[in-house]
Symmetry: C2
Amino acid sequence: MTARPLRVALLGAGNVGLEVARLLTESAEDLSARIGAPLEVVAVVVRDLGRARPGIDPTLLTDDAEAVVARTDLDIVIELLGGIEPARSLLLTAMANGASVVTANKALLATDGTTLFEAAEQAGVDIYYEAAVAGAIPLLRPIRESLAGDHITRILGIVNGTTNFILTKMDESGADYHDVLLEAQQLGYAEADPTADVEGHDAAAKAAILASLAFHTRVTLDDVSCEGISQVTAVDIKAAHDMGFVIKLLAIAERLPDDEGIVVRVHPAMVPREHPLASVRLAFNAVFVEAESAGQVMFYGRGAGGAPTASSVLGDVVTVARNRVAGHHGPVHNAYAHLPVLGIGAARTRYAISFRVTDEPGVLATIANTFAEEGVSLQVVRQDGSGEDAHLLVRTHKSTEAALAATLKRLRRLTAVKEVVGVMRVEGEAGN
Amino acid sequence: MTARPLRVALLGAGNVGLEVARLLTESAEDLSARIGAPLEVVAVVVRDLGRARPGIDPTLLTDDAEAVVARTDLDIVIELLGGIEPARSLLLTAMANGASVVTANKALLATDGTTLFEAAEQAGVDIYYEAAVAGAIPLLRPIRESLAGDHITRILGIVNGTTNFILTKMDESGADYHDVLLEAQQLGYAEADPTADVEGHDAAAKAAILASLAFHTRVTLDDVSCEGISQVTAVDIKAAHDMGFVIKLLAIAERLPDDEGIVVRVHPAMVPREHPLASVRLAFNAVFVEAESAGQVMFYGRGAGGAPTASSVLGDVVTVARNRVAGHHGPVHNAYAHLPVLGIGAARTRYAISFRVTDEPGVLATIANTFAEEGVSLQVVRQDGSGEDAHLLVRTHKSTEAALAATLKRLRRLTAVKEVVGVMRVEGEAGN
């Protein structure tokens, strides 16, 4: 061991930051052996200097982030502040001053990753961010490197633990959304303001990051069609259950045939109970990656939490530190494919639709005709009840969102259709 | 794009090799964009020049492997010959002459990986081998890099598709081992001589490779305790089924507490039906990795086949090619931990044991006492039948293999015990 120590600054010492700091100390010897040089933490930036930070040398604490990233002797800056600013400015300054960076900031990466990647390339430093998507699960590096010789066609995953916790509890207890949300908040699985999770924004940021890597194309949060779980009712869950499905909030990024473009979307969907994603319970995450040669590959593990996220951060720290010792940097981000990013109208999937209909002969035929005329092919049709309670349940074969929307518009005008009660996408079926 | 083309030689054009050759041609443009330089295949080594190799330019074919690796202008050599020699000599010559290498040769890596890794380090070139374990599943790179900041405690996986196919069929049909083996051979899932698969040697080679990477310690095939599935009967499967378990051939590498050492073993084991590994059917592979901070992470996908394996090979080709363009190489293999590799006697697991016993009062107590005296704690005891058919079924808590062996030796001497009918390890239970 002759290499000089590598100087590390940590921006943020919350849940994950404290764990990273602890591991940097406790595993110092192992990390040094794996890297080929010791790591030396030289600063820990916190917002509130008054709060206790157990396990962190108090002389390292500072609230002056600007002064830390202004240093020109840093090797690695770990950013765990979250949010767009000041995180972006701090990272840009750190890279301009020669530091490689490791970040878990999904919001920033999904909004303005390109600025960061270009700054890293220009400065000749690394930017790694495994912890930004699916916590402890090694996912970005496999997509960026292991599958780099293949053509990824589709990514389908559960990437938000809060919503999966809520949907699992609703499925297993029959309880309603608001009761389960309250339970999740009490247990610490949902924040006091749960909007970012339950409305799908968190999953959408991750979907944008995954799509960018998988399709070598710039995809930002604004490109992601996003619908959360706050409208999912106990009745929806029960109806899905009766058909042999569970409802999951999925992040889906797919490349359309003939490089027509890519579609990235987040929404609740019905998944067959025998599909591996159906058995991903509570706060766990799982992501399917489908590639032309590899077929389906699945990654599963803890998507959040201090220790699992810290594991991902440390893995990135070892990688950039090894690169530093060897005097080089990892592969740069490459958006060479420039595929068009299309709206959800271009997506092709299956649908389950329930209608309240008038109880008279010929209703089913009228509705089926409307689907046929819009080119949406039906897979299952079931009529239940009678009188005021006459219900029609329809499952379609694959169709574009645009064709489905046109069909629904026409159906809503029919006098036979009293109400379109629910529309749910169906994912993970054979051929889907 | 200004970088010069990278010269690639392919050793072996069987199932995987043909697919690699096809993808190198068909995906040339994408690969070039991802790498930053085009790849140029300059030679394809085959054993039999007379056989048709569809899709390969016939002028590239040669049967003179020595002449190919003697070239000093190669950038990348892809070795898909398998076996120890001449693969080892060819790879050593190729690296000495400056080429980086990509190989899928698990037998060679598990037997003499150290020689290859040292040669690569000395020559300043890369050696990558993702395809050697679990086909298309990105597994080695995540262990080597993503989890490099964590402490892996245990790897538990299904890494042989042939045996998993056979065990799945036995479980689902009730058929006996030999009938299912025949079916697997007819369908191409098992070779004419199935020994390497069914006796666990293939899985053991993969376990040695995984353990070396996970524990930063040299582990070879000889260090792996190995037992195959040829002794697993329809009766065993049925008995496991009745208790809520399935039998899987598992590869297990674990670090004992306090860095006492590591144990690497391959054997059939009972896995609870609700465990994610239990639902891995047919020729699929899945590997659980347990790390201190990350918790449990699972990887799932196709473990074999031309296209999936080619996907892994191409991913490695892109990595070493990117390194080549950047003028550096990836992290070297590091066995700094030098943990002792212990025999299976040191392993701690649970056991299910069935006995044929005499039908008289006190038998259960006598047997239970023997377990207790050897320090093996019982979890479940069940006595069935009477007379000649009196059976005792015992499941233990965790114990060392050594304590279990001592217990069994004493039990076999008891007059009350007519026969120890079967002993099966139990893995994947809570706390196990």
